[in-house]
Each structure stands twice: as C-alpha cells, then as structure tokens.
Symmetry: C2
C-alpha cells in the first residue's frame, strides 16, 4: 500500500548524477584554490626539480669515491668547496673530491650522490673522512624525478588538496583553472518549524535542518544559501523554490516529502515548468521519502523532514551530485573504514539500511557500536562517528562480523 | 655523530601540547560556527522535542486498540479528527479511536503510538482499518527523549560538526560561545626558494611549502597567514618571526631546521626574548630535523624544508597543537583506517616511520600500497591517501600484515 511511485535503489539514484552538468569555470589564485576542482589538465612547464638536488645535508661526491668506506676503514676525500644554496656550483669535482652541500642544494658536475653529514668527520678545512659508502643517486633527486616538462601532472576533474595545490605552486601556476563553487539553496518546510531564535509552543520545533544541511554542504566545499522556513503552503513553497532555482545550482527542500497528509514538494515540483520527477522514493532507511527532480537542468531534492534521515540522505546521495556539479570526474572517494560489529543488528531485506555507529579503537582494530535511538533524534547523530551500510539482501548482521563504515 | 640535541619521540612532543593555552573566546552566530570549538558547556533550555512527536505518517492511537490486528483480522477504529502540523490537538482520543497525523505532529492526549499509513486503509472519512499492531511508544518520540531541560548536551571543548551545530539550533542558540579561529603564521626560508610566479634558474625551486602548509592549516580550520619567503639571513628571519609572533598564535618556519650548514632557525629562536627550545630533533622519519620552541607563550615550529617531510610533521605533530589552541579538550580523533599491506616494507628500529600509502578497496577490505619515491618528491604526496605509522620497535612489516593508516 505504498503511496510512492518511481522508487529507486541508491545505486540507481547515484547513476543519475552524470546526467547533470558541472557549473561554470573560472580562474582563481592558487592560494585560494584549496578544495576546488581543476577544470583543465595541468601540465609541467619545466622539469621538476630541474636539477640534481641533495636530499640530505652532507657532502656531494662521486659515489665511486666512497665504495668500501666503513667506520674502521674510512675513505679520505679532499674538500673542493662549499655549495651555496640556490646557486649553480662554480666548480666541478672529480674522483677523490667532495663538496659541502645542504638539503636542497644543487650537485656540482662530477657528483652523483650525497653522503649524510652523520657519516662523515671533517679532518680540517680541506679534507673529510667518510664512514659509509653511498650508491650512485643516493640522497639525490634527479632533474626530472618529480615531473618531466610537458607531462600532465594533474588531470581535469581533480580535487585540489593541500598537496595538489602545493604541486601547482611548484610548477609555477599562481592562478588555476577551476570550476566555481556550486551554490546550494536550503529550504526548510513545515507549519511546525519555527526559527532558531523563537520559543516553541507545544507541537512546534526549532529549525535544525537549515543548520545541519548547510553544514554538510559547506563541509563538502559547496556554498549554502539559506531560504529560511516555508509554511505548508504550496504557493509559498513554489515561489521559494523558483527563487532558489534562479540563484543557485541545486536546491534542497527538507520536510514535505513524506507520503500522505502533506506531500507538497512533489506536487509543487510537478507544477513547475521544464521539470521532471526522476526519483520518488528511495529504497534506503532512513531516507525512503526522498524526491529528486530535474528542474531547468538543475537537481532539486525533497528530503525527509526528520533531521537524521535528511542528513543521511545528504551524505549518501546528495553529496555525489554536489561533487558532479563541482566538476569532479569521480566523486570524492568515500573511504569505508573496516570495523568489527559490537552486537547483533537486524535489517529488513530488500532495503538498504544505514545505521549510525560510534567507532572505538581496540587493540585489534576498530569496533563499531550501533547508536541506539530513533531517527528523529539529533542526539543519535551527535553520538555517531559513521554510518554502517547494510546491504539490501542482508537480513541482519552478527556480533563480530567485519563491516565497513562511512565516516561522518 | 648527531648534531641534534634534545631529540624527542613523537609521543613526548605531543605531550607538550597541553602546556600551551587556547586562544581567546568570542560569540558567533550559530550558522557561522561550523567547525569552531565550544568555549562553554551548552545546556538544554527546554526539553527536546518537548512534546510527544510522531516519527511516521499515519494514525495516532492508543496502542492497546491495535493489539492482535493483522492483515487477515484488521482492527477497526473510529477517526476522531486530523492533527494540524505545529498545533496542539484540540481533541483527545480514547480506546477504539484514531487521529490522522503526519511525521513531526503532536500526539493528542490518549494516544501513545502511531500506526504507519502503509499498515492502514481508510474505510471512509470516519473509520480506518489497521493491519498491524503497534507497541506503546512505537513511532513516537517522547518529550524528553532527545534532551532533558538543563542537561549538558555539548561540553566545552567540543568541535561543532554539522550535527552539533544543528543540535545547538534545535536548542534555541542563535549564537554560540566559541574560541576564535587561531592564526598560524607561515614562513618559507632558503636562498634557493623563489616565488610561485618566478622562473627558477638552475639550483632554484619555487615555493611549494607556503601553499601546502597553509592548505593543511586551513583544512584543520585554522587561518593561515603567509609571510612569504625569507632568505638564509638570520637578521631577516628574526624580524619575520617577530612579526609573525606579534600577529599570530603559532608560527611555522619551513627550511633552515636541518643540521650542519644552515641551522638558522634554532640559532634565531635561541636569540629571541622569552623563548625556550623544547624540541630539537624528533625520532620520526620523515621529519627528524623538527624544532619546537615556546616564544612569548606561543608555539614556534622549525619544519624540514622538504615538502613531504614538512607535510608529514604538520599532520602528525603540529595539528594536535593547533587543536589545543582551538580549545579542543581532545585533539580531533585521528581515525586510523585498517588495511592490509600489499608488500614487504623495511623500517629502522628506534625510529617511528610514517610511510605514504595509497588505499585500494578490495573485496575483503582495503589494501595499503606503499607509494615509492623520495621524500623530496611532492608527487609522492599527490599519490598518497594516507600515512602508515610504523612503530619504533618494528624492523619491518610483511606483505599481508594488518596495518592502520592515518588518512591524508
């Protein structure tokens, strides 16, 4: 007796992400590009580092000069000079010679390795004893070892973590081609919802979803745009959705997507121009009453009103769509953390369950403990470290079972 | 023949974090408080939700009216009315009666459970058949079930994730007492380092560390303040450190902390007033030449110049100090992800190794593959998903060994 139609599995919903297009491109300063997504391939403009570079403080040598050296039988080398940082050495060395060098310095001609200072003892200004042999290229980075000129070093669609942004700096890109930050409109609905600074009478509840959903959007590097609270009034909801569609790239409506007495969201969405309902119901728990529409080419979501359900749907289904709008060629890898289940849990077959769990470090890995409490309780999310994904064809899991947890 | 003194283990270094004080407190709008840290306990101002609340669409009933109901033998109830969202029901129900209710609605007096609409069939406007019995409190959140008035719901020192910020909204806090965002001064040093928009001659290299270290600071919710590149000139370095100490809460200096030819950082720090060198050398790899000083009560770090070493030290040692300045009562939990090692790896005893690994989802959990390449290569960080922590007393690990990985 379900009132839903067009119920889809999570996998079917996620497959729709690629039917939406990334937002526009722009150019930003590399120092502002953290957690943006590259909109073009990035190539190496020169070799990196571009010269033979010491990775240790010590002496640049021809490795062969050190062969056979040991504590009991050190090699004795002549010091040909010191290498100034950032300079091309003004001299060459030959077999039997060494040059003082610091980490990052350029090896002189004739040198192919560096002996760590810990394995040497200067005899005087002109000679040094070497206590350990080095192999050719030891403690040296070769000119093209990091990247070779013209090679693609970061592909279009890559998320720029600190190391990718650092690499772009090293390659001489003070600006980067990226996608702009998608804006996500957030609408809370329901006659029972009042603003955070209000005092709720009986039957009323303050707006939690605007804060928690905006937080998840911003954690995923989107810009949240809040449209406040809309009463259970289809005309007002329609106006607000139209405003949000005009100004943002994706719209989230929480509440009003359940069956029965107030199925406003799907009703209002169905009446908008250029709009198609793609999903009406998703076979996951919590989160069944999820709606997804395409309106003027943009994704519009009807999320459950209950905060936990709304957050779970956002995490498992909406964020991959945000990643698509951001231009990622693949969604942010959701690392699933292996853990051992602390107790038996039940699950309905034919439905994919996402159970809140806390994680506890044990001697033998992590333990996942189900957080007890109904999905209307924000407390359960505060106690949770992650979501345990229980497949559709699983009736339950036993204590001690190895599980994978999506981090919250 | 080490030139270091005061070499400490990572554990000893981390134990020093608590000797520094959190930054000042302030009050910010809850919608701007994401990833801030609470500076006072937060109490519930009222019960949450404060009334008996339906968690499903359906019918509010006295559970006893449904006992024994089934598909083949439904219970027949009289509909006493509909409950408007956000209103106190104007009527009570008795045994044998039901009231239409939507998720989030307030139960009328006399009702103690909700029957899901899927398990009912309205006969006409005045009566409904119930196909499944419910237990008392089923599909209902009790008035104090989320939080009870005056209870501490979030303790001082808690990081505000989306769910904690949402909870604060639900409790009626439009503003929150938090610690301000710590500022972290970032200084790159070295005669060989040139700006990102420069063209490096032989022996020179563009500044990668300012970007990658700022990125890690901002990822950890600090504010990075860049002081640019300082040549290997003690007087200039001293002036820049003094500026940074004046304007920020923690200072990071990369380069100039190695032994031997240019140990400027420790020399300059030793000459500053009100300054104590706490750490000079850390028994980890990469990252041995790490310096930590307390100057005018603020932590000042000398980090290795090589980008990978600097990033690893920041991740494993500096971020916990940032967390302390942020006011966290415990550092952000660094979840360690269990994985299986893909090949044998060697490690020196007496030194804690942090090896870069990429993670690959297999059928039976994650596989950790060591990323090959010297620690001077930024490429190795771009390919890495995490750091494998190899203990001091371990000589090496074998293929197939179960390991724990710190995510990057």
């Amino acid at each position: 007796m379900s009132h839903f139609f067009n119920v889809k599995t999570l996998q079917e919903v996620l497959a729709l992400a690629d039917t939406f297009s990334p937002v526009a491109k722009e150019s930003v300063a590399t120092e502002k590009a953290l957690f943006r997504v590259l909109s073009e391939d990035l190539k190496a403009r020169e070799d990196l580092p571009g010269f033979s570079r010491a990775t240790m403080d010590g002496y640049a040598v021809a490795a062969a000069s050190t062969f056979g050296a040991s504590e009991s039988s050190p090699a004795w080398l002549t010091i040909a000079g010191s290498i100034a940082m950032g300079e091309v050495p003004a001299f060459e060395i030959t077999q039997g010679q060494a040059a003082r060098i610091a980490t990052g310095g350029m090896l002189p001609k004739g040198a192919d390795a560096v002996v760590m200072i810990e394995h040497t003892e200067a005899v005087d200004e002109l000679s040094v004893e070497i206590y350990k042999s080095v192999a050719p290229l030891q403690h040296v980075i070769e000119p093209t070892e990091d990247f070779e000129k013209a090679a693609v070093v970061l592909e279009k669609g890559r998320l720029l973590r600190p190391q990718e942004a650092g690499l772009a700096s090293g390659l001489g890109y003070p600006e980067l081609p990226v996608y702009r930050v998608p804006k996500v409109g957030i609408i809370s609905t329901g006659d029972e919802v009042i603003p955070v600074d209000g005092t709720p009478g009986p039957g009323k509840i303050r707006d939690i979803n605007s804060t928690s959903l905006s937080g998840l959007v911003e954690e995923a590097n989107g810009t949240a745009v809040r449209y406040g609270i809309v009463k259970d009034d289809p005309a007002e909801l329609k106006r607000t959705i139209e405003d949000a569609l005009h100004d943002t790239d994706m719209v989230l409506i929480s509440g009003g997507s359940s069956v029965g007495t107030r199925d406003y969201t799907v009703e209002v969405l169905s009446g908008l121009p250029d709009t198609e309902i793609l999903v009406h119901g998703m076979s996951v728990s919590p989160g069944k009453p999820t709606i997804l529409a395409r309106s003027s080419g943009k994704p519009v979501w009807g999320l459950p009103g209950q905060v936990v359900s709304a957050m779970v749907v956002l995490k498992i289904a909406v964020i991959p769509f945000l990643n698509r709008l951001q231009g990622m060629t693949r969604p942010v890898r959701q690392i699933r953390v292996p853990a051992v289940l602390s107790r038996n849990v039940a699950s309905a077959q034919g439905r994919r369950d996402f159970m809140r769990v806390s994680l506890h470090q044990g001697d033998d890995g992590l333990e996942a403990r189900p957080v007890l409490g109904k999905s209307g309780l924000i407390r359960t999310m505060v106690h949770a470290d992650g979501l345990l994904d229980i497949g559709e064809h699983v009736e339950g899991l036993e204590k001690g079972h190895r599980v994978n947890v999506i981090l919250l």
